[in-house]
Every structure is written in structure tokens, then in C-alpha cells.
Symmetry: C2
Subunit: 374 residues, 2 copies
């Protein structure tokens, strides 16, 4: 895949060189203004590096959520995961940011595992396999550190009772033309997938239904999920609920050439369950912006903009803005070469994995307690 390939961003496929400015225009979202960031900083104490560095880059109604919050109206957070395999580091970014929001605003989180969709989508999946990934991936969610009392993980299949009565209310207002236009569904699309947007919409309104009050939801998630929220936002007022608000992230590039990441090419992403050795090897094989030789690198400098190692430092492993700037400059000027940079990243990845895997192991004792009871 060349990075010049046409940009495709759908819930099922992200490919080509992503032009995020264009996505804002195409999807009709709003950029995060200085005013919004200041308001967020006021309540959170500080701005998370993922928002400072533009990884979360646009929104819908996030300003409204903050205004309601200032008027004393709390919101709930809602995000999720399609459990189709092991979790990799790219998946963690929106969750890390969600945890920051949960701590900053002291709010409840609904985390949806769309095991029904993954079953319906993948020819070779059984229901058992999908639900198996739900429980496996839940360990990674818990390892991020979400508060047990304020977090409810939802398996679509296991917790369908809580979702279905909301989903049918949504579904009643969404017809085939709409999902065909928004999701590109066809005559050959199975009827489970056709219904599924109503299931993904349901958690937006779950807190309102459970409490009997109208509670707005804020969804921190990658922008490829936006089609779901566009449909849900159209329906919300018809059901008497707030339109769900979103704060959208970019995608973490993979370690392959051109930032490619693919679960079918496991060397392009670091899974949370990788051995330290395997992870280190992936880092050392990562695509960088370096010159062919160390000598040329010293002379001409590297290009951090296309470097996957730099990206991982920027979005995952260096919280200090000053040090990120220093890394950039050292690369550009040739003061640091790729081998050195990879060594730094490899150490941080290994340290992170060691700790994450410990928390992940501990999560096994409490995983059931995190799931929605209904």
C-alpha cells in the first residue's frame, strides 16, 4: 500500500494517506478551538498530551458538554472496541485519553465490546470466539486503570438485554436507505450488520434510560467511528435525548513502511501480550525516517515526520513536550541516529509492557465486576 493511495476512512477500513483537515470538512466535525481547550484545562487541571499534540483533533458538541458541566450537569463517557483479536498499542490511545477524562470530570464510563458485530462481519468467527476476545480485551481496558465503581464494560452479546430495548427505539427511526448511504450497505449485507448501527447507538442513551434522567454522553474515539454517531445524532432528539457528543482522535501509525499497521501482519503492531523480546524485535525492525547509512544520517539528518519510532515516542512514550521537541531536533540535525532512537523506544516499550502485563494479569480477578449487570 502506498501512502499516496486514496484516503479511505470507514468503520471497517482506514487506508491511504490520511488528510485530517479534509476529514473535518468531509465529516462535518468542528476543530478544537483555543476556547474549548482552555475550558478543558480549567476543569482537568492540565491538558493531556494527546490533546496538546493534536492526536485528538476535532469534535462535535464537546463545547456543549463542557458548558452543561459548568452548569452542574454531568455527562457520561462512552467508548468501545471491536473485539476481533488481541489489543495493540494503537488501541490504547483513546482509552488512555478516556481515563484522563474520567479522572478529570469524575464521570461514569460505558465501554462497549461489539462482539456481535465482529461475529457478523468475519466469516470465520464463532460467537464464542467473539465473546472470548471481549473478555480478553477487557483485561487491557481494566489495565488502563479505569475506576471500577465508575466503569461498566458491555458485551453486546452478554448484555444485550440492557441494549435491545434502546436499540429497537433507535432502529424504528433508521431505514435501509439511511444505512446504505452512511455505511455503504448493499443487497448482500447480512441483516445482523444492517441492524447493528442501532446496537452501537444504544449505549449513548443507556445512562438516561437507567437513571430516568436525560444524561448527555461524550464519546472519545477514533474518527472512523463517526458514521455511527451521525446516524445516532439524527435520532436522539426524536427519542427525547441529548445528541451524543464526540471528541475524535487520529489513528496511530503502525510500524510498517508508510505507517502501515495491520493485524494480519503482526510485525507492524505491538500487541499488549507480546513478549518483551518480540516487542523489542518489532521496534528494531520498524520503518523510520532515517538515511540509508549512519554517515548520511549524521550529515543530512532524518525525517521524524514519516518515522514510526518518532510517532510512538510522540503519542505513547514521552509525556514531556520539551523532550519530544529535543528528539525532533536531534533527528533533523543528525545528532541522533535510528539505532539509538530505537533503543530508547525499545526500553520504554518493554517497561510499559512489563507493567501493563502485570496489571492485565491482576485484572483477571476483577474482570467480571467491570461488566454491566442487568
Amino acid at each position: 500500500m502506498s501512502s499516496d493511495e486514496e484516503m479511505v476512512v470507514t468503520p471497517w477500513k482506514v487506508s491511504g494517506k490520511i488528510d485530517y483537515e479534509k476529514l473535518i470538512r468531509q465529516f462535518g466535525t468542528q476543530p478544537l478551538t483555543k476556547e474549548i481547550l482552555e475550558k478543558l484545562k480549567k476543569h482537568a487541571g492540565s491538558l493531556h498530551y494527546l490533546i496538546r499534540r493534536g492526536f485528538f483533533f476535532c469534535h462535535r458538541d464537546f463545547d456543549l458538554i463542557l458548558n452543561l458541566y459548568e452548569q452542574g450537569k454531568k455527562f457520561v463517557l462512552y467508548t468501545g472496541r471491536g473485539p476481533s483479536g488481541p489489543v495493540h498499542l494503537g488501541h490504547l490511545l483513546p482509552w488512555i485519553f478516556t481515563k484522563y477524562l474520567q479522572d478529570a470530570f469524575d464521570v461514569k464510563l460505558y465501554f462497549q465490546m461489539t462482539d456481535d458485530e465482529k461475529f457478523l462481519l468475519h466469516h470465520d468467527f464463532t460467537v464464542e470466539r467473539s465473546v472470548g476476545y471481549t473478555y480478553d480485551n477487557a483485561l487491557d481496558v481494566i489495565a488502563i486503570g479505569f475506576e471500577k465503581e465508575k466503569t461498566r464494560i458491555i458485551s453486546d452479546i452478554k448484555n444485550i438485554r440492557a441494549l435491545y430495548n434502546i436499540a429497537v427505539k433507535v432502529a424504528k427511526h433508521v431505514n435501509f436507505s439511511v444505512v446504505r448511504a452512511v455505511f455503504g450497505f448493499e443487497e448482500s449485507t447480512n441483516i445482523g450488520l444492517i441492524f447493528f448501527p442501532a446496537i452501537q447507538a444504544a449505549p449513548c442513551f443507556l445512562e438516561s434510560v437507567l437513571t430516568g434522567e436525560n444524561v448527555p454522553a461524550l464519546i472519545p474515539a477514533a474518527i472512523d467511528q463517526d458514521p455511527y454517531w451521525r446516524v445516532t445524532r439524527d435520532v436522539a432528539p426524536k427519542l427525547g435525548f441529548y445528541k451524543p457528543a464526540q471528541i475524535h482522535s487520529k489513528f496511530l501509525a503502525g510500524l510498517g513502511k508508510g505507517g502501515k499497521m495491520s493485524a494480519s501482519q503482526p510485525e507492524t503492531c505491538i500487541f499488549t501480550t507480546d513478549s518483551l523480546e518480540a516487542a523489542e524485535k518489532k521496534v528494531f525492525n520498524a520503518f523510520t525516517g532515517g538515511q540509508p547509512t549512519a554517515q548520511e544520517q549524521r550529515r543530512f539528518g532524518g525525517n521524524p515526520e514519516v518515522c514510526t519510532v518518532y510517532q510512538y515516542m510522540l503519542y505513547l512514550f514521552e509525556e514531556d513536550d520539551g523532550k519530544v521537541r529535543e528528539l525532533w531536533e536531534n533527528c533533523r540535525s543528525g545528532r541522533i541516529i535510528c539505532g539509538e532512537c530505537k533503543s530508547i523506544l525499545a526500553e520504554r516499550v518493554k517497561k510499559f509492557l512489563l507493567e501493563h502485563q502485570k496489571r492485565r494479569e491482576k485484572a483477571k480477578d476483577v474482570v467480571e465486576e467491570y461488566f454491566l449487570k442487568d
Copy 2:
């Protein structure tokens, strides 16, 4: 509506003069052969009058069900109701026959209340209204006398957890072209209704899923439900289950002219909750096959074939074949006139309602126990 109107038989509309022979050809079902009836009689002790009189008139794989039974393989019964209002006498007929089958073969019954579909179908329905009818209509089901230990009523909305994991397995094998062709779904059909055939299919396989054995299901129901079973029968082998078998009934005519029955014209049907006075009045206003005057009736005789009063005697209130024949002959020959006939029916209706309403009242104490626990 004239009875010469084109015959329409779909799960949502039954109108025109119904040609049951044509339906057998159109739907591709099998007539009930003498051999099948003899086998049924052998196990049941006697043939139920609803099958003797042709109210249940065709089938799919009922012979297979009986053969499997003779080989020691039990089946489960599955029937249901779309709870969109109060129950009338016409609804009871397939249930009465189902009770006969439950007693004859000592088998379990799953009774599905499609409250999700009724909500999705009717513009002015809330989920609460649909579920309300589920519980109300369940009282009528219980009043028929089904064995509590062997009967599980399913509310799609309340018991969705037991159904959904089966429904997604079915849905994965059914695409939009199929449901468009079979049910006439359109671009404007909501995505809940598009998915619903998978929900109606689920109870066919519920016993198999719950027990881990492959248990065939026999569905006694009116023939308008056949499109659901055609789709389900296509999918069953792909999931490793028996194709669901059916035994199909005709429709009970209403009390209106041309046998019309419509919930929107309450005078055309007798509801189980009607007062005895109201029911009596409906009987006396019923459309008959009589002559304009008693004198002409005595002279020319009546036409029981088009007479709704005769139909109610035939299918609900006279189990003795000899007496039914006598009634027919007395009508044809003018020995009995409509007023007399209506008086007989009115008495029987009132007696039935009195007893049914008592059983219905008692059912309130046990209704929860009849519902599926999941």
C-alpha cells in the same frame, strides 16, 4: 372489502377470499395425508376436531417429526403471538391445537411474544405498550391450560438475551435481498424490522442451544407466518440444526360481512375480555348465511358455508361431529333459522368466556412463572 378481492396472505395482512389449495401450491407446503393423520391418531389417541375439520390443513416435515418421535426423538413445540392488542377468539384456535399436541406427545412448548416487532411496526406503539400486551396476552395463553412445567413464554424484549446469540447466527446467513424478496421489505423499512426475521427464527433452535442436543421444533401456526419458516429452514442446516417443521392452520373468519375480522372494528371479533353482554350483542349482529326473512329461510334454507355463526360452531363451540353435521343440514333445509342459531352460539360463547375469564384471572398469580428464565 369484498371477498372477491385478490387474496393477500402475508405476516402483516390477510385479505380477500382465501384459496387454501392455492396457498399450498404458492407456499410449497404439503397437504396432510391420511397416513400422517393415522400416525398422529395413533400417538394422540384421537384426532383433534381442528384437524378432522381441516382447520389445520397442511404442513412441512410433520411426517419427519412423527417419524423421529417414533424413533424415540422428542421434539419441542413453538408458536407465538404478536402482542398488538387484546386476544380474540380467532387467536385461540392454534393455541388450543398446540395444547392438544403438548398433551398428546408430552413435549415442551416455547411461546414467543413478538413485542419488539409490534413496537417496530406500529407508529404509535411504545416499547412499554408492546410489553404490556405481552403480559396481558400471556394470561390468555395460560388460560388455555398449558402445563407450567413444560411451557416457556418468551418476551422478545425481556428475554432477548436467550434469543440474540441465536438470532445473530441466523442473521449472518440472511441478507437484504432475501428479506426483500420474502417479506417485501423496502428501502424505507426500518432496520429493526429488517433484522426481526432472525429474532422470530431464534426459538426454533432455542431448545437445541439450551440442551446442547439437536432437538427438532414443530410449529403449529396460521399459514401467514410461513415466510419466516421458509427463511429459517434455509439457514437451519448451515447451523447444524433440524429444519423447523410446521403444521399450518387456516384463519378463523370474523363476524363481519364476508367473514371480515379486524381489530380496528371491534364488533367483528369477540375478545376474550369482552363482557358477556357485549359478546352476546356481537353474536346477534353477526353476518350469517340466512335469508332476508324467517319465512324465506324456512322455505329456501340458509347457506352455512358463508355463515360466520356456523364457522364459530364448527371451529370453536361444537366438538361433536354429528351435531355439526346436523346443524349444517338443519340450516340448509330451513329447519333452523338464524335467530335460533345465534342464541345457541351466544350461550356457548358466554359459557366459554365466563370460564376463560376465570382461568385468565387465576393466571395473574402464576404469569411470571411461565416466562423464560435466562
